[in-house]
């Protein structure tokens, strides 16, 4: 009889309206284990990238909906932008176009001359990267990573690894490609590094993103010839970034007595936050990127000329 009472009490401990399947604790353990294993798979293997691509493609209509208000706002703002401003802009653009035309004329002759010299020296034809114009559709949604999302994807022949530039300099590299969009990791992201050269003395180095809008050039000795204000340009060694594109300007050089290396901090020149349009440069073919040794020496010589040229241009532009 005592046993019977006990059974009754047991049954009453979990009344029917409280029973909700497995206990909370077992559920949370199950889901935690599931998410940890997914994280491990995602971090170590590439199995989930297809799933991600399919999901992002399916999400595209939702994304367009979410982007619609800001797009409308931009269109309306454009529509109502004052006549005065348009006239000014038109004038400025005309002037710019004229200046650039003058420069282009010189570029044509220089290019022809360069081609001729190269053919004389049996050198390779320099890379002429094709580019696709893209527009930033939004910044990355993860505040930890420095990523922008561009409205060009695998449908527009974008491939992972392509260099991305704007009118002022290098922005970053395409890291993930989805059907309609692609993710561009900025050079300030701590996962990205870029081979650079100091424009002033052609010193080669590699710049790493620091994750906070600056670049770091580590492992250079304390007596290295880098000054504040030096311009960093791409060296073109990797075959991804064409040589001579502006990357950053050195803002701080610090010698720490405890460390054998100098701490060199620079800020990127490309304005990611205030531009919408950017260029996605096509990856060079593997055949073309294999540049023979003598030709490489020749290119640096040529680059010096270019750099002097651009310095002169900068001076002439200064009074404007």
């Amino acid at each position: 009889m005592l046993k019977g009472v006990h059974q009754k009490l047991e049954a009453q401990q979990t009344p029917a309206f409280f029973v909700r399947g497995p206990s909370l604790f077992s559920r949370v353990i199950f889901f935690c284990a599931l998410s940890v294993s997914i994280m491990a798979i995602d971090a170590r293997f590439n199995y989930l990238s297809h799933l991600r691509q399919a999901f992002i493609a399916a999400l595209h209509p939702l994304e367009v909906m979410a982007n619609a208000p800001s797009d409308w706002y931009r269109d309306i703002k454009k529509y109502f932008s004052a006549h005065n401003q348009l006239v000014q802009e038109n004038y400025a653009l005309k002037q710019q176009a004229f200046e650039q035309q003058v420069k282009l004329q010189r570029l044509d002759t220089i290019q022809a001359e360069n081609q001729h010299l190269r053919s004389l020296l049996n050198g390779n034809v320099p890379l002429q990267p094709n580019a696709v114009l893209g527009e930033i559709s939004h910044m990355g949604r993860d505040p930890f990573t420095h990523v922008v999302v561009v409205n060009r994807g695998s449908r527009h022949n974008i491939k992972a690894g392509q260099a991305v530039v704007d009118s002022k300099g290098v922005i970053g590299q395409v890291t993930r490609v989805y059907p309609f969009t692609s993710e561009v990791t900025l050079i300030t992201d701590k996962e990205l590094s870029i081979p650079i050269q100091i424009e002033r003395n052609q010193l080669r180095a590699i710049a790493f993103g620091e994750g906070n809008n600056t670049l770091d050039i580590p492992y250079l000795p304390t007596n290295v010839d880098i000054k504040v204000g030096d311009k960093l340009v791409t060296s073109g060694i990797d075959g991804v970034y064409p040589a001579g594109l502006a990357v950053a300007i050195v803002t701080k050089v610090q010698q720490n007595p405890e460390s054998p290396f100098a701490k060199i901090v620079s800020t990127p020149v490309a304005g990611v936050s205030n531009h919408l349009q950017l260029l996605l440069l096509q990856l060079p073919d593997a055949k073309e990127s294999a540049v023979p040794q003598p030709a490489a020496a020749e290119t640096t010589e040529h680059k010096k000329d270019n750099i002097n040229d651009s310095n002169n241009k900068a001076k002439t532009n200064a009074p404007h």
């Binding site: 994304e63 909906m65 949604r141």
Partner: protein, 158 residues
């Protein structure tokens, strides 16, 4: 417990997803509340028969897919938060609105800390104090949810 229709739950979750996808420009991203988390928490606490740890986990997975971050980290943090939320869910009847806000504050804090730990394990830098702004904005969103859909318990009838 108040009556809730599943349609409302899934519709609000869809809207939360849209808000999550909304383009946040520049510095605004610091203040962005965790739309998905707040909405999930609201329905977890109000209608646990419709919304469970599994729902929270799935919502977290969607957030991971949408943000392009490491798959599974929001899923993990959402399910842990949902577990803490649900383990005290039956006592919330006794809480007044201030206590409830404090409770939600603690839950949002747990989620932030779990994500922070995961990010630090991945090798990210310490993001600084502004990392915790979404808790404050999330609380505002919580109050908005209460305004829109009513409190967790049935209003007292005299």
């Amino acid at each position: 417990m108040r009556h809730t229709s599943p349609v409302t739950v899934y519709l609000t979750l869809l809207i939360a997803m849209l808000c999550q996808l909304f383009p946040w420009v520049g510095q605004g991203i610091i203040f962005r509340p965790d739309f998905m988390l707040v909405v999930i928490l609201y329905w977890l606490l109000r209608a646990p028969h419709l919304c469970n740890i599994g729902t929270a986990w799935f919502a977290g997975l969607l957030v991971d897919l949408a943000t392009g971050s490491l798959l599974g980290q929001h899923a993990l943090s959402f399910s842990i938060t949902a577990f803490v939320a649900l383990s005290y869910q039956r006592r919330l009847v006794l809480f007044n609105s201030w206590q409830l806000a404090g409770y939600v504050f603690a839950l949002l804090m747990i989620e932030r800390i779990v994500i922070l730990l995961l990010k630090l394990f991945e090798g990210n830098e310490n993001p600084g104090w502004h990392y915790f702004w979404p808790i404050i904005t999330g609380l505002l969103l919580w109050q908005f949810m209460i305004l829109m859909f009513g409190g967790l318990t049935r209003p007292k009838t005299n």
